[in-house]
Amino acid sequence: MGAKSFGHYQQIDQCFDELVHKDGQIRTPAAAIARFIDRHGSGELIQRQEQLNQTISAMGVCFTLYSDGNNIDRCWPLDVMPRTIPSSEWQKTSAGLKQRLAALNLFIDDLYHDQRILKDGIVPADLVLDSRNYLAPCKGISPRYGVWANICGTDLVRDGSGQFLVLEDNLRVPSGVSYMLENRTVMKRVFPELFADSFIYPVDDYPHQLWRMLASLSPRPGDVPCIVLLTPGVYNSAYFEHSFLAQQMGVELAENTDLIVQDDIVYLKTLHGLQRVDVIYRRVDDIFIDPEAFRPDSVLGIPGLIKAWAKGNVSIANAPGSGVADDKVIYAYVPEIINYYLGEQPLIDNVPTYLCLDKKQRDYVLANLDKLVVKPANESGGYGILIGPRSTKEEQQQMAEAIKANPRNFIAQPTLALSTAPTLCDGVLEPRHLDLRPFILQGRDLYCTTGGLSRVALKKGSLVVNSSQGGGSKDTWIINDEV
């Protein structure tokens, strides 16, 4: 089948396209989509995009933007063209993601106990111990199963050859999974015939898997666990996701004022009095969860929570302190970390990374700022990043100063030719860059979502996929190619 299905779709030379081969042939997993467009024409695609937008607005799928001190609910942007991945490839990827999280959890547990990996000189000790994400009060604590990061959102990108690489591990409060679920619900309503025509793996067991994982953390196994989702509140940018997940799992959505700690037991203030809490799925940064332990100025916290947790009376997911492994400098060491704890080679590689704290690597970075992507070690949401080839001389100069002042805080990576997928832009299919955020759970068992949230940079040529900065999304279809 020729690429005529996608009109005059023009691929970008050095980039891997998710739906189309280099020679213009449609990739097998995308065959049903191509047939659909052949049969109905691209005008139909535009109409479906219209329907899709209406569905999203009727379903109330939104995200919250802070603007001029106001919170504005924006409709979630979803592109009508799905992104397809063959299931054989996904199996390997998902194994690699589980391997990675298992190793990271062994690493975190080690850091808060014997610190063998530091003593063995695999990871420089000062790098960990001086990190603001290393929380000394967590030393000696043993969360259930020795697992600290129970929920991980790992960002994957493809390089020019189509190889998946890990871009970063989000171990603090990764978000986006609700949009993965809602994207699928919307697409099923808008393209029922495509779902009938292909073998697309479902994604909708995630809330149940999340609940099961959280329940497995309960310090009172045997009883029906009381699980709450802790949110900063209705004004938080991810509140949609918090309320969505609470509703889907059937657990309470609590703010700090709904919880109280007494005699090192956490209670929920319910209509019928106090109820003991077993597991807290926190969507609040760990340094804000207990003013007694970390930040006395925090108004979000619950006094005494950390003590209750340290005593093993309540589980917190992700465990406080797990952010220590969510650091772009630590990231560079993950391949060694996997090898050290598991004795295995990483199934998914890192993006090549230069550490500015190493003099030789720093000199290289400073000399090549116009070619590299420079990232601060501890920011998220795509903020504070310098994209070399698209930056001005002034911006490069400023970044050079910042690096010299605090080399530990920066890493650099080559500018990747991120993969693309056909995306409906002003009624025409054009290639747009995208990434993929699968979600991995670890409690008693390990679980990885089938696919994940595909985020797409809607601006031509842009590599920034964050929804707060003009990014959109695509439904991600893992298509069975093994029948």
Partner: protein
């Protein structure tokens, strides 16, 4: 259910009912007022009075304009986001409460609430002619009923479900007393003689109860009128008696059911002990005042169970 959610889910029920009732009231009153055989001396500002606003005062503050009184009143009641009794304000409040307790409400109901909100944002921006208005208000009412229907078919029978229903029926009882107060009693001269039988059945339109009123009349031994009907006829879903019955039935599982039921019984006693047909208009007026006060107290009892709970909390805290 969280203690904090009580108020939000209760108000969710109240605002949804308010939206429905206001839309009905607007349509019914419009029909009444454009009727060439007017059987009353009502005027448009009365609508504002029913909703607890001082209509005459509000309108006198408006800058001079080409708008008719009808248009000005409808501006307040439908499009004005700052007027707290307007359709748009009720919908905004509805949405805010729904957002806060979203984890408690079924997905289908969330979607109905959303499309209701989107519909109003799109269609209640500008005032339109009567015909358009009639269709709009009918649609608002219909969409409110959709929310209730979806909820009834999908929501867990829980504290949240009960509180939502209590909210709806408290609001409905409130609206019925307001309509009686402003549209019936304030139009009568207070006298010491027995009140005259009033036949303003068109008012019952506002409550969607004309047909069942005729059924009621046809099946009573004694001579009755719309006042008896609206207060005591428990088979009519907008009567005070029915609303109180529903509040009591829904309150049974709540931790503060005793306090709520006590209030409900007090109000039910008010209905039983009075021989309504013997009351003068002045006495009837007093009775309605008592009901309105009673409903406000009932609301307070429902939304503040923390008198007992905080004791409960502090006991557990000191234990």
């Amino acid at each position: 259910m969280l203690l904090k959610s009580l108020d939000h889910i209760f108000w969710l029920g109240r605002y949804l009912e308010r939206l429905d009732d206001t839309a009905r009231l607007i349509n019914a009153t419009s029909h009444l007022l454009i009727d060439s055989h007017k059987d009353s001396q009502f005027s448009w500002p009365l609508l504002l009075d029913v909703l607890g606003q001082n209509g005459a005062e509000l309108l006198s503050q408006l800058p001079a304009s080409d708008l008719t009184v009808e248009q000005q009143v409808m501006g307040y009641l439908i499009t004005d986001v700052d007027c707290q009794v307007s359709i748009r304000a009720a919908c905004t409040a509805l949405k805010q409460n729904a957002r806060t307790v979203r984890q408690l409400i079924p997905r289908d109901m969330w979607e109905e609430l959303n499309s209701l909100d989107l519909f109003l944002q799109e269609h209640c921006q500008q005032l339109q002619g009567r015909q358009h208005r009639y269709r709009l208000m009918t649609e608002v009412s219909r969409r409110c009923q959709m929310v209730v229907g979806v909820l009834d078919g999908t929501m867990l029978r829980s504290d949240a479900f009960d509180l939502f229903n209590i909210g709806r029926h408290v609001e409905r009882a409130d609206m019925t007393t307001r309509i009686m107060d402003v549209m019936v009693l304030q139009q009568l001269q207070p006298t010491d003689i027995k009140r005259p039988r009033f036949r303003w059945t068109s008012i019952l339109n506002a409550l969607g109860g004309v047909e069942s009123y005729h059924y009621y009349l046809a099946h009573q031994n004694t001579e009755v009128d719309a006042v008896d009907y609206l207060l005591t006829y428990a088979d009519f879903p907008r009567s005070i008696a029915y609303c109180l019955h529903r509040v009591a039935a829904s309150a049974k599982g709540l931790p503060h059911s005793a306090a709520i039921l006590q209030r409900v019984w007090q109000l039910q006693d008010l209905l039983k002990t009075q021989n309504l047909s013997e009351l003068t208009t002045g006495q009837l007026h007093q009775l309605i005042d008592q009901f309105q006060t009673g409903i406000i107290e009932l609301h307070q009892v429902i939304s503040t169970p923390n008198l007992e709970l905080s004791k409960d909390l502090s006991q557990q805290m000191s234990a």
